[in-house]
């Protein structure tokens, strides 16, 4: 055996151990590097030499430096990260509404209660200026509370726009970086021979992980070593060396609502609905599932309250003796035309019955031949509207509102109708004079003192603002079973009306009841409630609105409808919290699984270091031993 061989083998051992030690050092120093996969030196036996004695080993060699990596585990981390970030962001945003509603002093409930307490205060003492002033200021507070809450929701809506812009910018940046890393990897020398650029691959995985924090992606590796990245329903974000950037665009119906745009040929299309996962998915989800519904629910309470209260208030009489007017400014029902509409038709919505309103938005589309389709977006239920060709056309009431459509629609023109969206924002006060609060009823009744029977007449209620409402009307019994009705202004209204005790008698927009056995010659009169400053009948009726189920098809009081909002947001937040925790566990498990393969363990590296140190020392000993042999040989020759 040639001595030189041992020397060469020893040297190969030294070099291999050095290489391995440097990899250990690399692992140790990168212990805290995000996305770093630990590396291993593959040690292989050098090609043996054939001699007469057979194959003789020639030492050791480095086969390559490999990163310890599992494709499946890495993909799982990316997927779970995207899901976790989505639910986390959804939860964070929903919690902000949840916290807004949680504060018992900040919610709607206390203002609503104070408002109705003030109504009762007026009922208790209708002529008191102080009680009326309290009602005025409490209604102002209630309106302010609607505005405040709507404003807070509006801030979240603006926040969603800002976040959407930021996320899109970040995603575009990451896509650019990915495209350039793809290029670096594909041109890396040695890749073809199987020596992969480990650190570049780690870098790319890190970029994908960062992308997954923002939006869910799918990746497809290419033959040239590059990785194609897709978002949504397969829209390419990175194709080879080229990044396709996303854009921010306005919603077609609502210019203030930003959406994610994607360039398809010359068109930019809205892909918001197709995106999921990551913080971007979370914010989009929050806006669709929580924010819109919350604002609509709050708006419906405002519309219902304003409408019912106004209706009843108008049936009253104020301190100055005038009929009641509007108390609240009725909120707007918002209709927005699609920006791409080509026709000239305009659509407006008006409230018919607050009781029928839902919290959904609607879309109206013209399908041609005077046919429109109205789609309720919450459940996609459609109803057909045929205008019959006469314009402006007013539709029948659908879900509590009716549509007014003018001529000139082009096929496929569409409109977004949000009946309740602006309710809380646009409710206002009309009344500003405490004396104008209509606490009394406009009419009063009396039985003549000369009546010989004990029959009585009820106080009477006003049903509509009839022009003759306050005319003096006398009901005269011609016999115990018949009566005549005479309006002092307009003459006889009815003669020989059969009398049934306790039955409603309605004329001129009022209803009263006469009960008990009547006698011929009995006279009852109904007339204006002149100087009825102590009358509280209308205030009592206004106060009773608090407990009446006047919303959601007669299923909910104002408080119930607001409670629905609280319960809905609370449930969403609660579920999001559970999902978030579950997703977090999944993400942590997948991270652990991946780190189990790719993460650096310092103890392991220390052990490896000791092993390699010893291998190095041993190889050095081989050289020393070879040297000793060599010395011995030289020594022998020299003698």
């Amino acid at each position: 055996m040639p001595v030189g061989d041992s020397l060469a083998i020893g040297v190969s051992g030294l070099l291999t151990a050095q290489r391995a030690l440097s990899t250990v050092s690399q692992n140790i120093t990168n212990v805290n590097t995000e996305g770093y996969s630990r590396q291993r030196v593959d040690v292989v036996t050098s090609t043996p030499q054939f001699s007469g004695d057979g194959y003789v080993g020639t030492g050791v060699a480095v086969g390559g430096v490999r990163r310890l990596y599992d494709d499946f585990l890495t993909t799982q981390v990316q997927t779970n990260t995207a899901s976790f970030r989505q639910t986390e962001n959804f939860y964070t945003l929903t919690s902000r509404i949840d916290n807004l509603l949680a504060d018992p002093k900040a919610g709607l409930t206390p203002s609503l209660q104070s408002f109705f307490n003030a109504v009762q205060g007026v009922a208790n003492d209708p002529s008191s200026g102080a009680a009326r002033q309290v009602l005025l200021s409490e209604s102002g507070t209630l309106v302010d509370r609607f505005h405040y809450m709507d404003q807070r929701l509006g801030e979240l809506r603006n926040g969603a726009n800002t976040e959407l812009q930021n996320r899109v910018t970040e995603i575009n940046g990451l896509a650019q970086s990915l495209a350039s890393v793809n290029r670096d990897i594909s041109v890396a020398p040695g890749r073809v021979s199987g020596n992969l650029p480990n650190d570049l691959l780690d870098k790319r995985d890190t970029l994908i992980a960062q992308l997954s924090e923002r939006v869910a992606v799918t990746t497809v590796p290419q033959d040239d070593g590059s990785l194609n990245v897709f978002i949504g329903n397969g829209q390419a974000l990175v194709a080879g060396f080229r990044a396709q950037s996303l854009s921010v665009m306005s919603n077609q119906f609502d210019a203030t609502r930003l959406e994610v745009g994607y360039q398809m040929g010359t068109d930019t299309i809205n892909i918001s609905n197709q995106l999921s996962g990551g913080k971007l998915g979370g914010v989009l989800d929050f806006r669709n599932r929580v924010l819109d519904v919350a604002q609509n629910t709050l708006g419906r309470v405002a519309i219902g309250l304003a409408d019912n209260f106004n209706d009843q208030h108008k049936l009253g009489q104020d301190l100055k003796g005038a009929l009641g007017g509007d108390f609240f400014k009725a909120p707007n029902l918002q209709v927005q035309a699609r920006s791409l509409n080509t026709g000239t038709s305009a659509v407006t919505a008006s409230l018919v019955d607050a009781n029928g309103l839902t919290t959904s938005d609607y879309r109206l589309t013209y399908t041609g031949s005077n046919n429109y389709t109205l789609t309720r977006l919450s459940d996609n239920q459609t109803s057909a509207i045929n205008t019959g060709g006469s314009y402006p056309y007013s539709s029948a009431s659908i879900d509590g509102f009716s549509l007014n459509i003018t001529a000139g629609a082009a096929v496929n023109d569409s409109f977004l109708i949000q009946p309740t969206r602006q309710g809380a924002q646009t409710i206002g006060m009309v009344i500003n004079d405490a004396k104008s609060i209509a606490a009394g009823a406009p009419i009063r009744t009396s039985a003549a003192l000369t009546n010989t029977s004990a029959a009585t007449i009820s106080p009477g209620v006003a049903n509509t603002q009839d022009p003759n409402l306050r005319n003096t009307v006398s009901i005269t019994f011609t016999s115990p079973g018949l009566f005549n009705v005479v309006d002092a202004t307009n003459g006889t209204l009815a003669t020989n009306v059969p009398y049934v005790s306790g039955q409603a008698i309605s004329y001129n927009g009022w209803t009263a009841k006469i009960s008990g056995a009547a006698a011929a010659g009995d006279v009852f009169s109904v007339g204006a409630n002149t100087s009825g400053v102590s009358d509280n009948r209308n205030a009592l009726l206004l106060g009773q609105l608090q407990k009446q189920q006047t919303l959601g098809g007669g299923t909910a009081t104002y408080q119930d409808a607001y409670g629905e909002l609280v319960a809905n947001v609370g449930t969403q937040a609660h579920q999001a919290d559970i999902t978030r925790n579950a997703q977090d566990t999944l993400r942590k498990q997948s991270l652990e699984a991946r780190d189990g393969v790719s993460g650096v363990n310092l103890d392991e590296e220390a052990a490896n270091m000791v092993r390699l140190q010893q291998a190095y020392q041993a190889s050095a000993q081989v050289i020393t031993a070879t040297n000793t042999l060599f010395q011995a040989l030289i020594f022998a020759i020299r003698r």
Partner: protein, 402 residues
């Protein structure tokens, strides 16, 4: 299983963070005393808490309304108690005024007191409440209800409105009565009919207010006395305006004359051609009753005929006053019933409020025993996590490579 160094560190940190989050929540629960911190903690309960809170507040408002109602009714009752005392006093005066031994001057001084009482009664009928509203003017609290007109009659300027207050979810209670109800809608006479002498009577006949029996037929009856000769017996005929002649006979003082459900009698000696009428009762306000009484007292008595007129007038005053007193009594009984109803409703409201508070408490209040023991457990958990973290982080193979 292989664990990376980072992972070990991260696990330790995560477990501390989790413990801290739990601890912070428990701490907040303990410091607020609330089990539900945000609706997300228990969405169904949170919505229920809101609606129960409303129920509680509404019930508190009903209780406050009930207080207002009670105060108003007490005030009305007090006023009516004054009216009642006053009418009793006037009734005493009427009995006194009927005394045959009184002189015209004596009666004039009684009349003076009656007029003072009448003013006092007007004052009571025009009383105002604490909010400066007239108590008995119906809806027109700003209008003085009763006043004396130029002709000496009494005018009512209010209406028949009656104010109600809401004292329970389905319960409203009347908190007043109109001036008509209290002072004006009073049937005169015995409630069914009233007896009246002809002002031109010259005899000493005095008619009794009478009583109505079940078969009373409302009609205007004239009871006419005829004595053809001073020695002839006195006969009478009762003729109804609609019914025609319903009774006739020979007159005996103080014996019952009955017809068509009317039972009355005449005392004294009616003169030939004297007559009395029996008419169905009509409403007569209490002020007019007092005024009539004072007028009668002020008319001087100068013989049997004028004494009979006085006696007849005072007899009528007595029954009219009794009707008035009865009406006030009825209204006070109604007020009493309303106050009872308010008390009963207050009891119901109290019970409901207690029940709501109990439910609210069980929904949102913290179980301190459980929470504090949980807090301790979580503290221990956090400490353990911290200590184990330090111990584990201290371990490294590098420590042993020398």
């Amino acid at each position: 299983m292989r664990i990376s160094t980072n992972q070990m560190q991260q696990q330790g940190v995560n477990s501390m963070l989790e413990q801290q989050a739990l601890l912070a929540k428990t701490q907040l629960q303990v410091s607020t005393g609330k089990r539900i911190l945000t609706p997300a903690d228990d969405p169904a309960a949170a919505a229920q808490v809101l609606s129960l809170t409303q129920e509680k507040e509404v019930t508190a408002q009903y209780q406050s309304n009930a207080g207002v109602a009670n105060a108003r009714l007490s005030m009305e009752d007090q006023t009516l108690s004054g009216v009642s005392d006053l009418l009793q006093r006037v009734r005493g005066l009427a009995v006194q005024g009927n005394n045959a031994t009184l002189s015209n001057e004596n009666r004039a001084s009684i009349a003076q007191e009656v007029r003072q009482r009448l003013d006092e009664l007007l004052g009571l009928a025009n009383v105002k409440d604490a909010n400066n509203e007239y108590l008995f003017s119906g809806y027109q609290g700003g209008t003085q209800p009763f006043s004396q007109n130029a002709a000496g009659g009494f005018t009512y300027s209010g209406d028949e409105g009656q104010r109600y207050l809401q004292i329970g979810p389905m319960r409203q209670v009347a908190v007043g009565d109109s001036g008509t109800e209290v002072f004006r809608a009073i049937r005169n006479g015995n409630g069914a009919f009233t007896t009246q002498e002809n002002p031109l009577n010259t005899g000493s006949g005095v008619i009794d207010p009478g009583t109505a029996t079940s078969g009373f037929v409302p009609d205007t009856y004239t009871l006419a006395f005829i004595q053809a000769l001073p020695t002839a017996p006195i006969t009478y005929t009762v003729t109804g305006a609609v019914s025609g002649v319903v009774a006739s006979g020979t007159y005996t003082s103080d014996s019952t004359i009955a017809f068509n459900g009317v039972q009355t009698k005449v005392t004294g000696t009616p003169a030939n051609g004297d007559s009395f009428t029996v008419t169905p009762s009509a409403n007569q306000d209490i002020f007019t009753t007092l005024q009539n009484f004072a007028n009668a007292l002020e008319t001087p008595v100068s013989g049997a005929a004028s004494r009979a007129h006085l006696n007849n007038a005072i007899n009528r005053t007595l029954v009219d006053l009794d009707q008035g007193l009865g009406n006030i009594l009825d209204i006070r009984a109604k007020i009493g019933a309303r106050i009872n109803a308010i008390d009963a409703q207050k009891g119901v409201n109290d019970g409901f409020e207690l029940q709501i508070k109990t439910t609210l408490s069980s929904l949102q209040d913290l179980n301190y025993t459980e929470a504090v023991s949980r807090l301790n457990l979580q503290l221990t958990g956090l400490q353990a996590a911290q200590q184990s973290f330090i111990k584990i982080q201290g371990l490294s193979l590098f420590n042993f490579i020398r």
